[in-house]
Homo-oligomer: 412 residues x 4
């Protein structure tokens, strides 16, 4: 109910109020509305059926938290002007505007090598033109060029409103309630010192719990082996479709997907509004509707992979701390080759069916926009120094896991 | 995480356990998996951004509640065999298997005059063949041919597990928490008397609250004026597309949507497995991806309506208890005709842009599988008789509201 | 954690902020702190073990809701000065300051005929002296002498912050979640028209749900037959103790309870600060500790009744819409007389063991500070007129139930 | 509503079912009913107003979780007989039966040197006589003499139903939601291997979160500096009252408190049923009602301390990782001596007003009934070995904090 009431129902926060006209117009803009059909966790719902929440809803949620944070800081006598508020709200609302469908897979295929952050900036600049400069402050905050750095830190840091909302929202919708955090509690503990965002000492346990929750969500959701398997499968499907389109112009795709199959996109392309519009036309439905059609394509690689996805016959994926020993690898590879033969798929396509690699996660980065605690005595400490245990220090270590994936029937 | 663990995370109930092998196989069946891409509330997320939950999840939830209900009845010494349990679980799991994308709109257009219940039965019979008769008891329960009627009433009555789950789930995801009900409370109050499902007297307030919640959800969600407006718009788009496809074979559609645009389907068609498969291939992504393409179709009716939908420039819809007075109607009609002229759309297409009709709702039907209360003295009363107030009796009255819808720019 | 942080944890709202110095000082005042040992629902925890929440917590909660309501009204451009805010917050914080332990029983015994409202006013006036007139505006609001009537209506009307909090809190702690209401939702719908508190039309379903919830809580909690039985038993115990103290000065009581056993208090007594202090010294612990001692008192009436309470051997209580027929009554009376004989209690004490009477409840009073709906067209309607169903009109009818109570062993 | 329905409302779990007659009779026993007036967190509500939940409610909750755990283990084909179920339920229900009011303070004063566990055993043995041996199995389970050790581990280990319930319940009622854990999630992950309780590998993150939550609750609630200060104050008050009663027989106390003031109790006393009854007569109301009276006692130590408690003028308490430096200590001591002089309290009573000591906490004990993880490959590992990070190992370190407490007016 965007229009008159300007109040939106939200299962997590109850209500989200749209605070001003600019924010309302941004929400109504087609480039923002398109996020309604882009699921936040891509194919994560293959593992967690509830995880069908969209980037549209996440952006609104993060904007709501920013609103709360500003309200809280003002109550602590941090002066924040109406202009600054508008800028911060617009910056967080649009922080994910560059995301396409299944973003991670996309960055490896349809817009290879072009990050959603880079695309997002192009959208921001173009919107600023359209809105006659009203987004200039939002852009300065976004790019960390505004002197009061805490605004940028609220938008993008290790304790920003983006992370607070997505952790909360992803836990909520997946039903993995280990990840549930107390956003209102953390926000109440925020303060500003020397223009930097800080957390008051009594909030240290909340921050600790937030970092622990983040790590849990990584291994239980974002890097869950079946989620990973689904994502890798999608990458392979899109790579193959892109290869095929070079020789078979008749391969089906929705019109919105077409240009991204046919052309190798670079970030420069997004300097042209037509490509921004083309990108904005693309959403989850294009990928999925096309992929359903590809189940019946004559190319056995494309059809086999597409059927695996649609019928949810996913690859087996082994995920472990140690690298796969070469001998184990060789055994599996042989099984996959046998599988290919029996499915009449040439062995040169092995790399579509036998996938290896690694993923890693670090819950807290020591040197990157770290979380500062304002001690009761006025001192500022990094959160890992302020805590009474070494827990948090261990959270800043990188954990790498190695994977190997292949069709389930290739298991011994 | 269907496979090994057989436990699925659910944001509402925490965990859903898959209780046996048959249920697992039904869930893994492609005809069931397709429900992952069919949203329970269709375009309801245009009003309530969180309302993106799927029929897949609802069916699992209803199955979970059935499991709980059976567990509860057994604890009250109602004997229920393993076979009966399996039958009841399968019946509720598959109760919505006949739904297509945007079901209500579909029944007015792509499968005109064919109800999802009718299609569902065809699916059930075909699945029973495939599962070698293992669904026979489920079908008997579903069709109310099994002597212990309470099983059917748990699947389909005015207090069935379907309604409990959808009311709860729809409230939860929309964030309209007026509709939240205590499913576990109601289930704890269920009992069986003379093979009929009854509610124990102390549960009367819970039933009352359930009926009130149901009425609230009707007017706040299911028949919300913007939701209605969206649904009417979709019906008009699909009607127009179906008209056009007769003369313009080149109009884009996804392959899965194609047959339903080209052919007038009847329920007899679903006697053929190929049509069941065709129907099962169709989901929300086909409709939405096609509709996005139609924004650029040369037909001004189709493109105008499709753009309205994608850009969320919905029709204004007035909803009220009294019929629209003829003079008001005429004024609006003139405005719409002017709008058509200025958009170069012939006036013969007025019925695509000026819509009137009515909707109605009755929270409780007195004569249709009514809710029986088991009084402390052993008597059975209808819930409207057992309550100490006339509230519930008023809930059994039909409330009709009349609507008129047209492009927003036609407002004075 | 009142002091430095001025944030109090609350299981319902998460956090309650203490908004200013005056409110902080009122909370720290011993007359307010004493509410920590006065349970909101008296002996309600005999039926609902969780119902051990205190009037202290309720008063803080109602103050929190007032804070939210003021914040909301300001966002709708209703001007509210800092003085007015302080007055409204103080008025709601202190609205229950006149409550003693087991308030309802007390008003029938220890302070017979003196209402907690009357005592509350005495406290308010005395506090105003102590706070040098800072509570004058609060008192005017409380007594409905302040011209902007909506402040009084927020403190005391059929949709005031008191009721919102107690309904919510009582549901929450009893676990009777049929009574859970959306306080934030209702508050968001409040507005002011002609200085009167109104609810916007779209909030009508929330108000309806609130009234339904209120009725449910009456019958499921406040007038629950076992709760009623407990309360009647306590009244009889205190009456008997008061009789005994006239002849037996040695009967045990805590010092705080003493004066209220010995003297017949009138409202005039509370004009003296010493009696205010005496009343403020009394809490649940005095009643319960004394009652435990009375189990061993030589008077068989007192000891029998006290043992019933402590060991939770409560009276059987029948509660029904129709009056108890005289013949049934006589049969029971005979059983009770037999019981008295076998317990060596003279029959003149029958009225301590055989109790009859009636209770009534009306969820909504039509003529008393009724709830006004602000229709979309600007008209003001009573909520019972604005609703599309007759539900609400039936809620304004009085429902009377008749009871008869006696020792359980007197059942046939 | 114990009686007929045998369903009890619970704000946390919704409903608690009383599973059989023995459990019902135990709950109705006066020794169990008395727990209704013993608050789980003693004076913790001075800091967290919601923390007024009782040991009665906690015992029911733990019993409920045991019921769930047994249900879950059976569903994994662990055979559990009806007898064993009854034993385990009775054992957990009565695990805290030896607690008196303000248990921790009591063990330092009124029953000095006698632990609640020791008293609990006396109650258990006496109840077993009364119930004619029906509690024998419960006692064997409780004392870890039953061969199937997992029953004992469910009652008492580092992941027992006691801890699950109290952590959950304390978080819930305090509103410190960092401590909220997923009891149903953890219970679903339990299994039995070689008669030992184990957690399945996929539950490792839930266990980790449980241990983290436990540590948070220690520092935020159980050892919160104001909670600690309140507890120390109560200890000093009871010590002083016990000293005074030796010379002043007229000092007020409730009858139930009397014997514990007058006599030095030893564990042998509890071999006599009269002392068990005396102990069972004592609850929070005796302590608090007596303490209110002591505000007016002529002894300045007793009256000053009692007034501090009732009026909530608590001691300042400093809590820190390092010991208080002697020079700081001396300065404070001087201030306190000055305070005593000005209050006409002889300096020999310094130890009542200047308190120092230390508290410590270890979230996980490596060698005491540790938590075993059942890895996917069948191996059993301690949870600290099974986790991929060193977090958990650090949780097994003892953290000691030192405190110093004194009247607030002695601050510089």
């Amino acid at each position: 109910m965007v229009h008159k009431t300007r109040i939106i129902n939200d299962p997590i926060y109850g209500f989200i109020t749209i605070p001003n006209e600019l924010i309302l117009q941004l929400i109504e803009h087609p480039w923002f509305q398109r996020l309604r059909n882009i699921r936040q966790l891509g194919l994560g719902h293959y593992v967690y059926p509830g995880a069908i929440h969209t980037r549209f809803h996440h952006a609104l949620g993060a904007m709501h938290l920013m609103h709360e944070a500003i309200h809280n800081l003002r109550s602590k006598n941090i002066p924040i002007s109406a202009k600054e508020e508008e800028g911060a709200l617009a910056a967080i609302l649009l922080h994910d505007i560059g995301h396409g469908p299944f973003s991670h897979a996309l960055e490896h295929t349809l817009v290879k090598g072009v990050s959603h952050e880079a695309i997002g900036k192009k959208f921001l600049y173009e919107l600023n033109k359209e809105f006659k400069g009203k987004l200039s402050l939002a852009i300065r905050i976004f790019e960390n060029k505004y002197p009061r750095a805490f605004f940028h830190q609220l938008v993008s840091s290790q304790l920003d409103m983006d992370r607070l909302d997505y952790l909360m929202r992803d836990s909520f919708f997946t039903g993995v309630n280990e990840g549930v955090i107390s956003t209102d509690r953390i926000i109440k503990m925020l303060n500003v010192k020397n223009n930097e965002l800080v957390v008051e000492q009594k909030g240290i346990y909340s921050v600790e719990k937030f970092l622990i929750a983040r790590r849990l969500m990584y291994w239980q959701v974002y890097l869950h082996k079946t989620v990973l398997s689904t994502e890798l499968l999608l990458i392979k499907i899109l790579q193959r479709a892109k290869e095929i389109v070079q020789k078979d112009k008749n391969i089906f795709s929705t019109p919105a997907l077409r240009p991204f199959l046919e052309k190798q996109i670079t970030i420069q392309d997004f300097n042209h509004k037509e490509w921004l519009n083309a990108f904005a036309a693309l959403d989850d439905t294009d990928i999925y509707a096309s992929l359903k059609a590809w189940q019946h394509h004559p190319d056995p690689v494309l059809s086999t992979l597409s059927r695996s996805m649609v019928q949810r016959k996913l690859f087996r994926l082994k995920l472990q701390l140690k690298n796969v020993p070469p001998e184990v690898r060789e055994v599996k590879k042989k099984n996959v080759l046998k599988y290919l033969r029996s499915n009449k798929i040439p062995s040169e396509y092995l790399h579509y069916f036998f996938l290896t690699g690694s993923v890693n996660n670090r819950a807290y980065h020591y040197h990157r926009s770290n979380i500062r605690i304002l001690m009761n005595n006025g001192a500022l400490l990094d959160v890992t120094q302020a805590s009474d245990l070494t827990n948090l220090r261990t959270l800043s270590r990188v954990v790498t896991k190695h994977y190997m994936a292949y069709p389930k029937t290739c298991d011994d």
